[in-house]
């Protein structure tokens, strides 16, 4: 078993039975589900919208070379410096180079999962910069020295009481556990940082090819301020975030809001096309866009699962996933959690190391059903399992293969099945002696669940007796 698999199993065993954790997540998700469904109903045809979104992403991803070149050309024309990074290390070095060049001291960041992916904060802090996350949830988990729990709700696993204690300890400022009062504590603390910061770093939700514009979706205004006040702005964006046309946002912005947070439109949807332009009152003097591959082209090469590059990181698949809701966001040990993370992490970071995530699913398909861009998520988990076990693409387990090899003739030959039926009855009786104990061969099941007995007469035995 790989180290990440061991970690996953240990954490899952600890978190899944934790009814307090389960309660917090269920309450938060319950609120989300109500507003999400109200918003979906306002659409004239939600399923039709999903089709259009999937079609748009199909065009974007399957002509990525053309669109990406167009995007770079257009945004460069407005004085933006575009950088290309094949992997995480290159992206970190590009950004550290800009910080050095600008003699920066304080860096303010708005939420960017891509920066988690390349471990940017660690690298910047290691190089001596002060780095401040400005999204409230990100700020909270940064103070706790924890990764975000969820793509959209980074601190959803924490109660107001825990956040109050955190603010008291770290900021010495926590008047009460009222969410509004706590939010104002963060507002005061971060206002100072915006004014001090030399460089602002953002992620991006979309990159529009035909106009050369980055689109950022947020509710708090923290990305707006990150992009407005520091003299240098950097946007780190995965190459798959391309949309062909500006008007595609007319569909994607509301769909992202509905699925992400249950809003009709998120509070700020802002498009950035360059540094401060002639005649503008403010804005950064320099704008850098770092385009990141980091194995996205590996996923692109898998035509069967290429649609996963259409992901808009709305988090909707996590929200409906019964695995996520029971093991929580940290158990995955990945940047991208939930179903989408289980699908793409093996492509981004290695199949053998991360295949366990594809098995840690009941294949219920709730993710696929909800995905606004119709990624075939749970079927991709099946394909990952196939790829992990096939002799050509993976490493089959000798024991599992043997078990299925023996099972096939048993299932296929009526005489052998009949014998198995009889032997199972005896085995069942013997197992009954140790039922549920540590030496019960079915212990994985029987520790928490009863197992029904083998019937006195099986269906096939009954049918034979009917003589039809």
């Amino acid at each position: 078993m790989s180290a990440p698999a061991t970690h996953f199993n240990e954490d899952a065993r600890r978190v899944a039975p934790d009814t307090r954790h389960r309660g917090i997540i269920q309450t938060a998700m319950g609120k989300y589900e109500v507003v999400r469904d109200q918003r979906k109903l306002l659409f004239q045809d939600w399923q039709g919208a999903r089709n259009l979104a999937a079609r748009t992403k199909f065009e974007a991803v399957n002509h990525l070379d053309t669109h990406l070149a167009e995007f770079a050309r257009n945004i460069e024309a407005r004085g933006t410096k575009v950088h290309w990074a094949s992997n995480a290390e290159q992206a970190r070095n590009i950004i550290l180079g800009i910080l050095r060049d600008k003699q920066a001291k304080v860096i303010v960041k708005s939420k960017a999962m891509t920066s988690e992916e390349i471990h940017l904060n660690d690298a910047m802090e290691h190089a001596g910069y002060e780095v401040v996350e400005s999204d409230l949830g990100e700020y909270i988990v940064q103070l706790r020295k924890e990764p975000p729990y969820h793509l959209v709700f980074p601190a959803m696993h924490l109660t107001r009481g825990e956040i109050k204690d955190l603010f008291q300890k770290k900021l010495n400022d926590a008047p009460s556990d009222d969410p509004e009062a706590l939010t104002m504590v963060a507002r005061r603390a971060l206002r100072k940082k915006y004014l001090q910061a030399d460089v602002g770093i953002t992620g991006a939700n979309f990159a529009i090819a035909e106009t050369g514009i980055i689109s950022i979706t947020e509710n708090e205004g923290n990305a707006r301020l990150t992009a407005a006040l520091p003299k240098t702005m950097i946007t780190l964006v995965g190459i798959e975030k391309i949309l062909p046309r500006l008007e595609d946002l007319a569909l994607f912005l509301p769909m992202l809001a509905v699925m992400g947070t249950g809003q009709a439109l998120t509070c700020y949807n802002t498009m950035y096309g360059g540094p401060r332009q002639p005649g503008e009152a403010d804005g950064p003097e320099e704008y850098h866009v770092v385009l990141l591959d980091n194995q996205r082209t590996t996923l692109l090469a898998d035509a069967e699962q290429r649609d996963a590059l259409g992901c808009i990181r709305c988090g909707a698949c996590l929200n409906v996933c019964p695995i996520f809701r029971n093991v929580g966001g940290h158990t995955y040990g990945t940047v991208y959690g939930g179903p989408i993370g289980s699908v793409i992490t093996p492509h981004l970071r290695g199949l053998q190391q991360w295949k366990h995530l594809s098995y840690a699913s009941s294949l219920c398909g709730a993710c696929t059903e909800t995905c606004p861009v119709k990624i075939d998520l749970h079927h991709h988990l099946l394909q990952n399992r196939r790829n992990a076990s096939a002799p050509t693409t993976g490493k089959p387990s000798f024991l599992q293969k043997l078990a299925f090899k023996i099972f096939a003739p048993v299932a296929n030959k009526p005489a052998l099945w009949s014998l198995t039926t009889k032997l199972s009855r005896i085995g069942m009786k013997l197992r009954g002696l140790v039922n549920g104990s540590a030496i019960d061969p079915a212990q994985a099941w029987t520790k928490t669940r009863d197992l029904p007995p083998i019937a006195k007469q099986s269906f096939r035995e009954w049918w034979k007796e009917q003589g039809k």
């Binding site: 065009e59 601190a155 006040l229 403010d282 082209t297 692109l300």
Partner: protein, 220 residues
């Protein structure tokens, strides 16, 4: 070989294997977008009503004012109740005249400003590029609304719009942006939908996370 070329080579190599679409192909038309999205009503009155409802749901304030005089009175009332001390605005006949009319120290962004000074302002007064009925959105740009910070840094953002600036829906808003700016885009285009908010603590709504706690839209 540059990293740019390396990335493009990998993309082109990957795309030599064709993927199959389960959802049809070709980019959707605006008519297709409109066919699935939330309806907006046919008449101008219905759209104003929709904008007003959306603004109210978003906890923004939306007021139709009949003339400049009424607008001045409304702004003065806000100044007095909220005890404004300093105002930020930009060079635009509508916004600047009304801001100056408040008789308070006024920061005008276009002349260049110190961000610390703007942070001390109680209100940012700006015009906008459009109002969007479908979502209750105010559309501002760095070129026409006094830069990037004015609509986000002060705790109250007051927007002065003209009645004819109301557009029906998001497709219309994007079509308008393209029509006006395609030769030369401003560096920032922002769709503002209600005052700043967060739900990061127990999914409970709090207004004014980092941006304005209040958004007031006056429509002449």
């Amino acid at each position: 070989m540059s990293e740019r070329e390396n990335i493009f080579n990998r993309i082109r190599e990957a795309l030599t294997v064709e993927a199959h679409s389960h959802n049809g192909t070709g980019l959707p038309t605006t008519a297709e977008h409109r066919g699935v999205m939330p309806p907006v009503g046919a008449s101008e009155d219905e759209r104003f009503a929709l904008f007003a409802k959306n603004a109210s749901d978003l906890k923004a304030t939306f007021k139709l004012v009949k003339d400049a005089g009424e607008l001045t009175a409304e702004l003065r009332a806000l100044r007095d109740t909220e005890k404004w001390q300093r105002v930020a605005t930009h060079k635009s006949p509508l916004a600047q005249t009304h801001a100056i009319g408040l008789g308070l120290p006024t920061l005008v962004t276009d002349d260049g400003y110190d961000k610390h000074d703007m942070e001390q302002c109680d209100v940012g007064i700006s015009v906008c590029d459009a109002l969007i009925a479908q979502t209750g959105t105010v559309l501002v740009t760095s070129r026409n609304s006094g830069g990037r910070a004015l609509s986000c840094l002060p705790p109250h953002h007051v927007v002065i719009a003209r009645r004819e600036q109301l557009v029906a829906d998001l497709p219309a808003a994007f079509a308008m942006v393209k029509k006006i700016y395609s030769a030369n885009y401003p560096s920032m285009i922002s769709f503002i939908t209600g005052p700043s908010r967060t739900g990061d603590i127990e999914r409970i709504l709090v207004l004014g996370a980092h941006g304005p706690k209040k958004l007031t839209i006056f429509c002449l």
